[in-house]
């Protein structure tokens, strides 16, 4: 008999997942606010509908909800883009936008928790590489990115990834392979060797 997830387990799961999920959404939609909205929607849906599920089912369910919410965002964007192009004259200027984006919280210092890189040059090199990989992830086709993230980042099995992506295991393998080759070629072009 499966044991249902307690509130603490659900909370722990969300704490563990939220950052990766945010990055995942950010790679997909290229917009911080939209990515945050997607994460909040996904968390709400999971908590409202599936909080009574066993704890081991939560990652699979959350990923499925997340992918569906991202797809919903794409659909809404398609409809909105029609109206925004029609009424583009009413959009605020860049100056207004920069003031709007200012957030007092961003002035706070991040606590230096990571201690795996001691040297500043190594830290810089790592930061550059991460930046490159993030950009490469944004370039990747949606399905390849989805397959790569689920398989290598979320460490899900082929079967689980296939369930979330609603395709066959063979398709997942193909998407993963293509994603890795594309990322490798992008990094090679930039002179990065892993």
């Amino acid at each position: 008999m499966a044991i249902l997830a307690t509130r603490e387990e659900l909370s722990d799961f969300l704490i563990e997942t939220e950052r990766r999920a945010y990055k995942q959404a950010l790679f997909a939609v290229h917009d911080e606010h939209a990515a945050l909205d997607i994460i909040q929607d996904s968390m709400m849906k999971l908590a409202a509908s599936y909080s009574a599920k066993p704890a081991e089912e939560l990652p699979l369910l959350f990923q499925r909800i997340l992918q569906n919410t991202i797809r919903d965002y794409y659909r809404r964007q398609k409809t909105r883009s029609l109206w925004t192009t029609l009424f583009s004259a009413f959009t605020p200027s860049d100056q207004d936008k920069s003031q709007e984006d200012f957030d007092i919280l961003e002035t706070l210092q991040i606590k230096p928790e990571s201690n795996y890189i001691k040297e500043p040059d190594e830290q810089l090199e790592r930061a550059q590489m991460i930046n490159l990989i993030e950009k490469a992830m944004e370039i990747l086709p949606a399905r390849q990115r989805e397959a790569f993230i689920l398989r290598y980042w979320e460490e899900m099995s082929l079967a689980e990834t296939a369930v979330i992506m609603n395709c066959s295991e063979g398709s997942v393998k193909t998407h993963c392979s293509r994603a890795v080759h594309t990322l490798a070629s992008i990094l090679r072009e930039k002179g990065v060797k892993l």
Partner: protein
Amino acid sequence: MNEQELGREIAKLLDYSADENIKQSTLYRLQSARRAALQNSQSTLEIMNSGNNTSVYGEHDEHFNTGKLLLLILALFAFTLVSATYWQFLEKNKSTVDTTILIDDLSTETYFDNESDLIDDLLTETYSDNESDLTDSSPAEARIYDESELSNDVPTEAHIDHESERVDDMPIDARIDNELDEWFDSNK
């Protein structure tokens, strides 16, 4: 480096990115979203009852008693209504049970043709059946059928033939005696 190793290496870098490369304001918003989701989950779970007069979190739920009581009253009301209707139905049909059973045995064609006559016939037949049962071992209907079968099996021409055959089969002396008897009777 093979495909899987390269994938894992990139995933490791993405992990570092998720740990370090997120703004404080974004982290704060993520935390707010998580809290909102958990509150939403708690309010959802409070509605769900475990069935032991307590909610999932072990808190007393007053609404559960009211709902249970209402359900019980509804069930009792429904039971009373059904039993009363059934009792009425039984009372109504109690006097005509025998007739209903007899009518039910008849075919639909006979029911439409001559309902009252048939019912009367049936009643008399049953009476005669009962009487015959008391007197004889064989039923009256069976006897009637046997007779009709005997009479119906032989055609009328055959009957005539049989009679003439009987006359023809008689011996000549007997025929003379008969003729003499007829002549004496006429001269008397």
